[in-house]
Symmetry: C2
DNA sequence: GTCTATATCGGGATAGAC
DNA sequence: GTCTATCCCGATATAGAC
């Protein structure tokens, strides 16, 4: 209790390290709990003592990833570049960090569509991670001088940008072009188009369209579990 | 051989019926092959004799669904209503048909995001089903008199409408509002907005924007496995 | 050709002994 | 806290009844 490093912590870390390593190299499905236990030199039962399920190990992976990316994200936000560059940089951090785990993420995103699945980026369990990431986009918007977002749209924009990022990541995971060139192109072109759209979204002429779009966004958000009201 | 109804067909149908029933009531993961065999009153071996895997039973479900919906879809296309109504009717057929299987579809869509998974609506295995459905949307476009789609956009529109439909279905599956009211609202409003967008997409003023969007669509299609070139 | 019974394997998860 | 033994399930394989 008094010592900072207990034996149990070391065991726990050893299991997690072994798991993440195998997840990265072999993927999620291919990695077995028996394999993890063997690599960590503990029994199967011990592995389950520390992590209730294979999914729990994935949650730990998410947490670690967000922690590791935080300083790089701060660096991206600290630069004085324009809005498009800053958002592009935020997204690039993710792509670079997840590059070695691309296959693993692929296996994970099988569960992505189901917000009831703990591992889904839309689940309650991943909520804090998701919100932390959306706050980064919010800061990019707040500090940008070259793009002024209409007031009705701005409360939704962090979420929308995050969603856009998730779409890109999904595309990237299944992109089979060499070096995922296709995703890079799509990322650049779509971001330019998106920022262009935001810039003209203030035009008075577009007011009715804008209103309808915001209505739709509010409506869509209302039906999700991570919206304002949580239960049902 | 000569008799229309062979014993094997009856057995096969019994297994499929039992499976679909259990899928609907209990969900995909919770339904076991042993359970299916027991409900169909055949041995486990027999179940595997007719269906190579649990996934095969799901494929049979898809096939059945498309067959069952075909006449209703034809009826929707036969009406002389406008474009928005016709597309709305096409989509409504799906919602009504899949209503009793909503939970089951939820379990399925765990695999949806992975185009390499056979059960994914984006997979090679489901390709013919997907294309058949897209053709329906193509017919709705072709016969519509109130909406003229720009030439650059029209080859992509059946796919885009199908994708839009899939998005709505995904939303619907996880919609927890009573009677999935939320989805109905979203469906109506988004379709109106979409058709409105299509109508103004012909304006000469929007030509540069249109070009960029089409470029983006072509780019995105190029990276998918169900695009023009199939392998890699 | 149709079907049963049964054995086997790999893998996630759990119970209970120590 | 750790391990062994066990269970369940999907999947495969096989031998043989009819």
């Amino acid at each position: 209790m008094t010592r900072p490093i207990k034996k149990s912590e070391a065991t726990c870390a050893r299991i997690l390290d072994a798991a993440l390593d195998m997840f990265r190299t072999r993927g999620f499905e291919e990695t077995t709990m028996r394999g993890i236990a063997a690599a960590a030199e503990v029994s199967l039962g011990s592995a389950y003592y520390y992590f209730e399920s294979k999914e729990d190990l994935v949650m730990a992976f998410y947490e670690r990833a967000m922690e590791a990316m935080a300083p790089r994200i701060e660096a991206a936000l600290a630069s004085t570049a324009g809005f498009e560059e800053t958002v592009g940089a935020l997204i690039t951090v993710k792509f670079e960090y997840f590059q070695p785990s691309r296959n693993f993420l692929g296996a994970l995103l099988k569960h992505a569509a189901d917000p009831r699945n703990r591992l889904s980026p839309f689940s309650k369990a991943t909520r804090s991670i998701r919100e932390r990431d959306q706050v980064y986009f919010g800061r990019a918007i707040a500090q940008s001088r070259d793009v002024r977002v209409p007031d009705e749209l701005s409360p939704h924009l962090p979420m929308l940008l995050w969603l856009y990022q998730m779409g890109l990541i999904l595309y990237w995971i299944y992109d089979r072009s060499p070096g995922q060139r296709q995703t890079r192109l799509l990322r650049e072109k779509s971001l330019a188009l998106l920022v262009g759209g935001l810039k003209i979204s203030r035009f008075a002429l577009l007011k009715p369209l804008r209103t309808k779009i915001v209505e739709l966004i509010v409506l869509a958000e209302g039906g999700t579990s991570h919206g304002a009201s949580e239960d049902a």
